[in-house]
Symmetry: C2
Subunit: 140 residues, 2 copies
């Protein structure tokens, strides 16, 4: 069973409706290799002949975020980007020249650091955001 169908069933079982926009957005996220901003979603929807108002796109983003189907990322260009909720904990590296993005998996990611923060800063760490910026193979 493709991943989209699993998500459809999950949402249906929770009593949410499967509208054309919602299903298409979920398919877009499942298939996309890169995190997508609201404007990216809009142009992909248009290409797929599913016309959706931008308000709906933002509301659907909130909905999918709330359902933990997607998660939000920030690459420092002032746009919020989203990707399907990952199975594996990972981060990203963005090429500062051509915006090409790759996933990066780190070993034993920041667990010790979060313990240190609890000890030294008295903060209970919930999550962290870590993105790398650099030059991809082509742009070096």
């Amino acid at each position: 069973m493709p991943k989209s169908s699993i998500i459809f069933d999950l949402l249906k079982s929770k009593g949410f409706r499967l509208t054309r926009a919602r299903k298409t957005l979920i398919r877009i996220f499942v298939c996309s290799k890169n995190p997508l901003a609201a404007a990216d979603l809009n142009s992909r929807l248009e290409k797929m002949d599913v016309s959706v108002n931008k308000t709906t796109i933002y509301r659907e983003i909130d909905f999918l975020k709330g359902q933990r189907i997607i998660r939000e990322l920030q690459f420092g260009d002032g746009k919020r980007r989203y990707e399907i909720w990952p199975d594996n904990h990972h981060h990203h590296i963005v090429c500062i020249n051509c915006d090409y993005i790759e996933c990066v998996e780190l070993d034993g990611c920041l667990e010790d650091e979060e313990k240190k923060i609890l000890r030294e800063n008295n903060f209970k760490t919930i999550k962290h955001s870590l993105e790398f910026q650099g030059l991809c193979a082509k742009c070096q």
Copy 2:
């Protein structure tokens, strides 16, 4: 000699002018314990009776950033924040409840990871942005 004066001399020696706005903004950054957004700068300037147009604030931010006197940070709320260029490499932890911010210093920060990225992703890493979110002592 206070830190602001050192920066004033540096800029002067490079041939830049020391205007009221520029000097006041540098003083604000030097004194501030927290990273500041453009709107924060505006309200602090008003309190100090130095009225400055918002265009000037944004241009001055660009200037100070270009001179490596301040650096930009993102905490994921859609605003860009700035702090005086740090002597020590550090990150931040933000309380998701009350927005209180503390600095966090990590040991041997991410050097091994950046080497790994060069090996495995073929990216030459220039920099990284890492921010923690959690609950501060009061909000736990």
